[in-house]
Subunit: 255 residues, 2 copies
DNA sequence: ATCAATAAACTTGTAAACAATTTTATATAT
DNA sequence: ATATATAAAATTGTTTACAAGTTTATTGAT
């Protein structure tokens, strides 16, 4: 075995927006089988996007990713390819990868798609909403409310995403769940771009109201609440000013 | 420039299930810019799946793909990675790629997802259903009927897919259209596996009825027809016998 | 003849080297 | 000073060669 790769490892990586969890600390390789390196990177980048540490417009050069994740370029490209396919990064030929910046038009489509998917799933979710499940959902919503209270915006955002995912999972359709997961991760980029600094108001409260309707078996009510909720979140976005945010960033990082 | 690659080109490829369109004959590179090789392969494989020339269980070895498409292994892997991400091929570590075989459980989820997506899109589609558009849809349905008449099953299947795609496109939501495209391509694999040899009856007729409702502006009727249509297509599947088809194939190609 | 162990052939996985492109920096002329 | 052209650096794209794994074929024993 050669010295492996090319003199990497042992670097600062102090304030990197990408957090690397050492391989052996995760449960995935409990059996001893190491998880593929490209998946490690994929999950780390996805998590960073979900927590808004990686913001739209940020560059992901191969060399930097190789260092951060201690991977070969091939594995890095594999991960970037997957992220590109999920529309989380833009892969420009010969010019590298950047975190994607959904356009306003794309944004409208995504929220419309979410409305369709999440309302369509609701009847099945209500049918599966046992008291135990509802308790779990309420717990998430309460955590979310606390995060909002303390001004921890990205934590609140993450919990909101988890809430919507758990509701969707109740419907028991893996294909639909995966589709929604893709829409939700792109929603994180949208909020990072167009989300109002003060955050969308009333989200945790509406989540709690939704759980109430679900537990009561009120299908029509739950559907209406979900639809209205998504519309309100979309309406809180600001497309006028913040579109510039990306441009500014591009300018600054165009070193 | 070196002699390029490694002694490929000039082979039989007579009855290959994958049809390769020579690069320069397509419109994509009208400006002179050659289309990336991996995309050529991706599109060829997708087309072969849509026309049921590539059937579930078939192996796609890298070497064979390199020869057929005159590509390097890297481009082939890129195409396979994309196909795997779209669930059209299974990528087994160290064991290569095979055309995917959706399970019965997956099948139920996919048809359920189609029902959701296509009925949710219908109101918008009806709103966009001008007489010209309806004429186009009817033309597709009539071609389809003719194909069924002449026993050209795969042609009929392709036209059916095109019909559903065109209807969805009317809604004008690219995100949803892409999602449906993924579901429809997987439906082709499902039909190849579990579709009754005689084909699902009455499909072109129901397509025509749907266009009538759409042109009349009958949203509720169109939604109901679409939902019922998808249910009927799913019910025509046969999960008992044909699951064996894959196994048989595996046995024969296990050379 | 059937089965197990071994060896060969084949296939995928990965790294290193090289080529091509893009970006940044420098020099020169207007 | 601004702008243009040239050169250097950095980054991505691709091939080649080799390593590791899997499948198939062969050999030998029961």
């Amino acid at each position: 075995m050669s010295e492996n790769r090319s003199g990497r490892r042992g670097r600062g990586k102090a304030h990197s927006p990408i957090e690397v969890v050492e391989a052996d600390t995760l449960a995935a390789d409990a059996a001893g089988a190491a998880r593929p390196g490209d998946q490690v990177m994929y999950e780390a980048v996805l998590a960073a996007v979900m927590e808004s540490r990686l913001r739209p417009g940020m560059r992901l050069t191969e060399a930097a990713c190789c260092e951060i994740f201690d991977l070969g370029r091939l594995a890095v490209r594999k991960a970037l390819l997957r992220l590109a396919h999920e529309k989380l990064v833009d892969l420009r030929p010969n010019r590298g990868a950047v975190v994607a910046s959904p356009t306003p038009a794309e944004t409208r489509e995504i929220y419309f798609a979410r409305r369709m998917v999440e309302t369509a799933l609701m009847p099945l979710a209500v049918a599966a909403a046992t008291p135990a499940v509802c308790a779990e959902l309420r717990a998430i919503a309460h955590e979310e409310a606390a995060a909002v209270e303390q001004g921890e915006r990205s934590a609140a955002l993450m919990l909101s995403g988890r809430f919507h995912m758990r509701v969707a999972e109740l419907a028991g359709n893996g294909v639909m769940t995966e589709i929604l997961a893709g829409l939700l991760s792109r929603t994180r980029l949208i909020v990072a771009l167009y989300g109002p600094p003060e955050g969308s108001p009333g989200v945790p409260e509406r989540h709690l109201a939704l759980v109430d309707a679900m537990e009561a078996g009120d299908v029509a009510g739950a559907v209406a609440l979900m639809e209205r909720h998504i519309i309100l979140v979309e309406q809180a976005l600001r497309f006028d000013v913040p579109a510039r945010e990306t441009d500014l960033f591009d300018i600054f990082t165009r070193r």
